[in-house]
C-alpha cells in the first residue's frame, strides 16, 4: 500500500524511551479528538422515565423473591417417590425454575438499575507505566545489594553452592514416596485368564457355549469360565474379553501356524482394541469387519483381524479354540501375544 519509506522510529513514553520495534510511528498521524461528548439518556432527562425505570427494577427484585419462594414451595410440593421416577423430573424442573427466577430477578434488576439510573458518563483515569520510577528501581537494587552484602550470598560461594545442591535434592524423596501408588506391572499385561481347556462362556452370566450354538452369522460376547468368581473380575475381564463368530470356513484366510486355531469356521478374537483398548465389538455380518466405536479402527475378521482402517496398527490377537468332549468350546491356550493397547516392552 502506501508505505513511503518512513524510518523506524522510537516511541516516546512519559518517562522512558521504548523501542517501537518495527512499528511505524507516523509524525503526521491524525490527532486524537478526545472523548466523545456524553449522550444524555431519557432517564436523565425525564423524571417520568426515571420513575418508570425505578418501578421496573423494583419489579425484578420482587420477581426474584417470588422465584425463591416458589423454589422453597417446590422443594416440598414435589417430593421424590421411589416408585415413580417422573417425580424426579418434576422436582428437578420446578425447583430449578424457581431458583432460576430468584437469580434472574436479582441479576437483571441490578443491571437494569446500573444502566438506567446510575451515571453513564464514561470517565478517564490516568494509567501509569507498570515499571517503577527510576527512584523506586534504584532503591530496589540498593535493597538487593544490601541483602547480598549482609548475607554474603555472592561472596560465600561454598554456602551458596551447597544450598543449590540441597534444594535440588530435597524434592527427590517427595517424588519417590509415590512409588507405592502401583506395583511393577511385570508380566501381568502379557497374560490373561485363558488356559488350555478353559471353557468359553457367555458374557455376562458365564454359561458355556456349544459349537453347535454358534450358527452362521451369529456373534457371541465371551468371557472365560470362572471369571465371575475371580477376585479381580474387572481387571481379568479387561484383558480376557473375546468375540466369537462363525463364518464359512472357506473364506477364512488362515496362516499355516494358525490352521488349527479355529473350529469349523468358528473363530475367537480378543475384543480389546490394539489401539487404546476400547471394546471392538461391532461385527458386520456380511463384510466380516469389526469396528471399534471409539476411534473407528476396523479389522478384517476373515484375514486374521488385520487392520483395514483407522488408527490401530496391530491385528486383534486370536484365541486358539477347539471343543471338549461334551462339545463345548474351550481355549487351546492363552493368547500367544499380549492383548490390548501396545506398550513399549510387549
Amino acid at each position: 500500500m502506501s508505505s513511503k519509506g518512513k524510518d523506524l522510529v522510537t516511541g516516546h513514553d512519559a518517562e522512558h524511551e521504548y523501542e517501537a520495534g518495527l512499528a511505524v510511528v507516523a509524525p503526521d498521524a491524525i490527532k486524537d479528538p478526545g472523548l466523545e461528548p456524553h449522550r444524555v439518556r431519557m432517564t436523565d432527562k425525564s423524571e417520568k422515565h426515571a420513575k418508570n425505570a425505578e418501578r421496573q427494577v423494583t419489579a425484578m427484585f420482587l420477581a426474584s423473591i417470588v422465584g425463591s419462594a416458589f423454589a422453597l414451595w417446590a422443594y416440598f410440593a414435589f417430593p421424590l417417590s421411589p416408585t415413580d421416577l417422573g417425580t424426579v423430573r418434576s422436582n428437578t424442573l420446578f425447583l430449578g425454575l424457581g431458583i432460576t427466577l430468584g437469580l434472574f430477578g436479582i441479576g437483571v434488576g441490578a443491571v437494569h438499575w446500573a444502566k438506567t439510573l446510575m451515571p453513564d458518563a464514561e470517565v478517564s483515569e490516568a494509567r501509569h507505566q507498570t515499571r517503577g520510577s527510576e527512584e523506586t528501581r534504584a532503591r530496589a537494587i540498593e535493597i538487593i545489594d544490601l541483602a547480598n552484602q549482609e548475607s554474603g550470598f555472592s561472596r560465600r560461594k561454598l554456602i551458596r553452592r551447597t544450598l543449590y545442591g540441597a534444594l535440588a535434592f530435597f524434592p527427590l524423596p517427595g517424588i519417590i514416596i509415590f512409588g507405592d501408588l502401583g506395583p511393577n506391572p511385570a508380566d501381568s499385561l502379557k497374560h490373561t485368564m485363558w488356559r488350555k481347556g478353559t471353557r468359553l462362556t457367555r458374557d455376562p452370566y458365564g454359561t458355556p457355549i456349544k459349537a453347535t450354538d454358534v450358527t452362521l452369522g451369529s456373534v457371541f460376547h465371551v468371557i472365560p469360565e470362572g471369571l465371575n468368581e475371580s477376585d479381580h473380575k474387572l481387571e481379568e475381564k479387561a484383558k480376557a474379553a473375546v468375540l466369537l463368530v462363525r463364518v464359512e470356513p472357506e473364506i477364512l484366510k488362515e496362516s499355516d501356524e494358525r490352521k488349527g486355531w479355529s473350529y469349523d469356521g468358528i473363530v475367537a478374537y480378543s475384543k480389546i482394541c490394539t489401539h487404546v483398548g476400547c471394546p471392538v465389538a461391532l461385527y458386520e455380518q456380511h463384510t466380516h469387519h469389526l469396528l471399534c466405536p471409539c476411534h473407528q479402527s476396523t479389522f478384517d475378521l476373515t484375514n486374521a483381524c488385520a487392520v483395514v482402517f483407522g488408527p490401530a496398527s496391530r491385528p486383534l490377537p486370536q484365541l486358539p479354540i477347539t471343543v471338549d468332549a461334551e462339545g463345548y468350546l474351550v481355549a487351546q491356550s492363552d493368547f500367544t501375544e499380549p492383548v490390548g493397547p501396545s506398550f513399549w516392552e510387549r
Binding site: 449522550r39 439518556r41 431519557m42 432517564t43 421411589p82 416408585t83 421416577l85 417422573g86 424426579v88 423430573r89 428437578t92 424442573l93 443491571v111 444502566k115 438506567t116 453513564d120 457367555r202 458374557d203 455376562p204 457355549i209 456349544k210 453347535t212 450354538d213 454358534v214 450358527t215 452362521l216 452369522g217 451369529s218 456373534v219 457371541f220 460376547h221 463368530v245 471394546p279 465389538a281 461391532l282 461385527y283 458386520e284 455380518q285 456380511h286 463384510t287 469387519h289 469396528l291 466405536p293 476396523t298 482402517f309
Partner: protein, 263 residues
C-alpha cells in the same frame, strides 16, 4: 456385601406395603398377559390359503430379485430357510421391497397390508423351516429390565448406543435408532440378523433374554429422562454443541445487552 444407607423413607413400613402391592400388580398383570398370549399364539400356524396367496404376491413383487422359487439371484439373497420372522421384519418395516441401492436398505412406508405380509411370511416359511414370528409373550414389556439392560449393553449398545439412539458402521452403513420400533420387529431383527446385523439365535440369547432386552428398551422409551430434554440421547457431543450454541451463545447475547448504552 456393602450396605447402603441413603434414604430411610424407603424403609418405612408404608413404603414396603406399597412396593409389595405394586409388585403383585405387575406380576399378576404379567401372568395374565402371558397366558393370554399363549392362547393367541400365531407362530408357525399358517393356513394353506395364506401360503397360496403369499406365493402369488411373491411372484409379482419379490421374484425379480429373489428368484421365482426364492432361490436367490445376483440381486437378492435366497430366502429358503430365513423363516417368517425375516419376512415380517423386512416387509413389516418397509425395508422390503427394496429400493435404489445404497449402503443399506432404509426403513420406508410399509407397502403391504398386515394380511399380505402374513401371507408372504406364510409362503417363505413353507419353503424351509426358519425363525417364526415371535409369540406375543416374548414381545411383552414385563421382562426383567435389569437383565435386559445388561444384555443390551453387552450385545447391542456398541452399535445401537446405550439407549438405542443408533450409531455409525463402516462405509455409510449404520445401526438404526430403536426408539419407536415395534417390539416384535426388535425381536425378529435379533433372531434373523437383517443385513449386517449379526444373528442372536436362541442359544445365544434365549427368548426370555430377548424379551428382557425389549422390556428394557420399552422402559427407556416410556420413561423420559428425569433430567429434562434429552438432546437426542447422543451423549457429550450433543451436550457440547448445545452448550456452545445456546448456553454460551445466550450468555454472549446477554453481555451485549449489558454493554449497550441505555436510551
Amino acid at each position: 456385601m456393602f450396605k447402603r444407607k441413603i434414604n430411610n423413607a424407603r424403609r418405612n413400613p408404608f413404603a414396603a406395603i406399597l412396593v409389595i402391592a405394586a409388585g403383585l400388580l405387575v406380576a399378576g398383570g404379567g401372568y395374565a398377559g402371558a397366558t393370554a398370549a399363549v392362547s393367541h399364539s400365531t407362530s408357525g400356524a399358517y393356513t394353506a390359503d395364506q401360503v397360496t396367496e403369499g406365493s402369488k404376491l411373491f411372484l409379482t413383487n419379490c421374484a425379480s430379485c429373489h428368484g421365482k422359487h426364492a432361490e436367490g439371484t445376483n440381486y437378492g439373497p435366497s430366502l429358503i430357510g430365513v423363516g417368517a420372522a425375516a419376512v415380517d421384519f423386512q416387509v413389516g418395516t418397509g425395508r422390503m421391497p427394496g429400493q435404489a441401492s445404497g449402503p443399506q436398505l432404509m426403513k420406508k412406508p410399509v407397502q403391504f397390508t398386515t394380511e399380505q405380509t402374513a401371507a408372504l411370511a406364510a409362503y417363505v416359511s413353507s419353503l424351509a423351516p426358519g425363525p417364526s414370528v415371535p409369540d406375543e409373550r416374548w414381545t411383552s414389556t414385563s421382562g426383567n429390565t435389569t437383565r435386559g439392560g445388561e444384555l443390551f449393553r453387552i450385545n447391542c449398545a456398541m452399535c445401537h448406543n446405550a439407549v438405542g439412539a443408533g450409531g455409525a458402521l463402516t462405509e455409510g452403513k449404520f445401526a438404526p435408532v430403536l426408539k419407536g420400533v415395534e417390539a416384535k420387529h426388535i425381536y425378529e431383527a435379533m433372531v434373523t440378523g437383517p443385513q449386517n446385523m449379526p444373528v442372536f439365535n436362541d442359544a445365544n440369547l434365549t427368548p426370555q433374554d430377548k424379551n428382557d432386552i425389549i422390556s428394557y428398551l420399552k422402559y427407556m422409551e416410556a420413561n423420559p429422562s428425569a433430567g429434562g430434554e434429552e438432546l437426542g440421547s447422543l451423549g457429550p457431543v450433543a451436550e457440547g454443541l448445545f452448550l456452545w450454541l445456546f448456553v454460551l451463545g445466550g450468555i454472549v447475547a446477554i453481555t451485549i445487552w449489558l454493554g449497550a448504552k441505555s436510551n
